[in-house]
Symmetry: C2
Subunit: 105 residues, 2 copies
Amino acid sequence: MTYGVAFTALADPTRRAVFERLGSGPKPVAEIARGMAVSRPAVSQHLKVLKAAGLVSDHPEGTRRIYTIDPQGLRALRDWLDRFWDEALENFRVEAEAKTEKDRS
Amino acid sequence: MTYGVAFTALADPTRRAVFERLGSGPKPVAEIARGMAVSRPAVSQHLKVLKAAGLVSDHPEGTRRIYTIDPQGLRALRDWLDRFWDEALENFRVEAEAKTEKDRS
DNA sequence: ACTTACAGTTAGATATGACTTACGGAGTTG
DNA sequence: CAACTCCGTAAGTCATATCTAACTGTAAGT
């Protein structure tokens, strides 16, 4: 059930952009917001959502807060995904077979 | 970039419920909507979004349309996820190391 | 042909969510 | 302690998405 917040969090393009910026390593808020289309407070709000989803974690460092990608949220997504992956392939295979069978008749 | 629509599609709880109902195999719309909190037209709208995201595919069967999970959309999500997975673990490891290092001092 | 079953579409109301501006708090430096 | 930096929060506005209700279209049965 916890994968729900993760999907919701990563649905917004701006929020995905925030998350993806952490792909190159931990960063303070100001550096994340640098050059983005939205204001810094907006980035803070997005980080709050990402944190609630377990996608990022933070720790203070002087007057700044350093944000890092958290495996926890990604793990939830990955587990959910795996539940459907094999099944999706199986469905696809059966579908394709039924189609070629039909073409033959 | 195509993983964006997939995330957006799976963000809505109702839409995820629709998608997950296809986990037990292909189904017509009426059967998907059976016992759900929303109306059948709502389910149709959700299926439309899921189809646009490449998460489901459909084919007519008499007066009914059978929907099936499509691996395509899941593939996009999986690829995106893998780009961050290893990195997240590495960041987490470094973070944990820095923490224990700090505790020792 | 008429009726019934099943599903997609449209229009409109409502709700949810993202953004900016302004402010407050916590830490650091002089 | 005063000024400065960095960041989170609150209030308010605006846009977008979801829902229901009514309608249309299509296929099958009588």
